[in-house]
Amino acid sequence: MSIRDSKYAPPVIRWLIVIIGIGALELAVQKGWVDDFVIAAPSSLVVHLLDVAFVSELLRHGLQTGKAAALAFVAASITGILLGFVLFKLPRLFNAVELYVQSYYAVPIFVLYPVAVLFLGISVWSIFLIAFAWAVGAMISETVLALQAVDSSLVKYARSIGLKPVRVATKVQFPAAIPGIINGLKLCLVYSIAGVVGSEFILSTQGVGRLISDHYNSFRTEEMYASIVLLVVAVLLVHIALYTIERRVRARRGLT
């Protein structure tokens, strides 16, 4: 059996790539091949993780960001699922808006932040609005896709046993679409966090984005990298967690 057939080869090789990559970066910084003002050594991340003051400040700001992101997420997911459901149920309306819904990802939502500030001032509500606008688009399109992907034979069976349309929707279509909706929730949460943090870079007096911005402005490169890396890791963990849930739900239903 060659290495290509082994089930364990890919994960092992991936970890090797990560370790070698981090090692190479560490070497490059230690040897002075890259300017350590511009790129922080990976080891500095560990040093800062052990620094109680750094971690507690990060957690304090993280809590602010988390609250704003959670609010944006809840609002965007509920709005997105409802609107997605309505669009799915009204095919003529969906036909008219489909191209725009599919193109939503291409719109630089962030460009709207001056508009948000115009209406809501430099406040948590502008941040909420940007994050909400970014996340809701993904939720709407994923909800519609999930509902469209529901096996039509399920719907036909439900109608054939006399279920009213409302019950078909709530008891059959919506539950069957849950794996796809979980995928939508994943994107919604990731974009809520990114929208909040991005807005905090410029708009806020608190939050992880503001903290990173402060580190940048006061030339605290290592702290800046540490904060960003931890933030990206947090986003990836969210991604992996929801992806795993989605896969488990699909597996339990016998779907691939």
Partner: protein, 263 residues
Amino acid sequence: MRLSVVPALLIALWYLLIWLVGTTHLSTPQAAFNRMVVGVQEGWLLEGLRITGRNTIIAALISAAIGIPLGYAMGSSSFVATIMEPFLVAGFSTPKLLLWPIVLLIFGFTASTFILFGVMHGLLPVLLFTMAAAQGVSPGVLKVAKSLQLSGRRTFLYITLPSSIGHVLAGLKFGLSLCFLGVVVAEMLLNIGGGEAERILRAGGLGALVLRAAEFNNQAMLFGLVVVILVIALSLNGLMGAIQRSVSRRVGTVEPVTPGVAP
């Protein structure tokens, strides 16, 4: 005709907001339009379009030049593709906005920062789609090519490329749209903060103009620019989508599954 439903709804919503909130904070559509006309006459709008357009095209070309060959190379080996896929999907799924301070630190206040941020957005979809397209070529057809003793180059040109071009173009659609997005956001973010950045303001593109409108409280200009940016983003996406569908119809392609893509 149906394409005009959403713009009509948005303009109606705009007027509704004006009726509710008044014109202190909100420009009217006519004022925004007039301001854009002035922008064309005075030259700053066209200059902004030129700069953003140039940055976007360069970013897109770089994304394609790296992404397509690399995608085909990685996609030709399912072992390599399996190993690299989680990295690429993770990279694609992470909003690049979070990495902005790192980009700014490493590349500074230069013109290439806009382009780099655009490439960061556009490269991964091109790579992922091309990889999936290359993997999606039917093994049966490849066996036929082998049995006919076609060289590697001929197999690629006459078998792999036609089978995969539709999906590669879909990746380029994502890539071009996201390059534009990355460039505009970078132009905006780069111009925040005074001092050194003020020099860049004069050289910035659409994103810089948006910031200038906001800082001078010129609502007509702000709203006009936002509409221009929205129209360009949607048009680029629509145009590339039309090209992709047209080529796919002519060539007849396999529809592979692209992992993790739902931007």
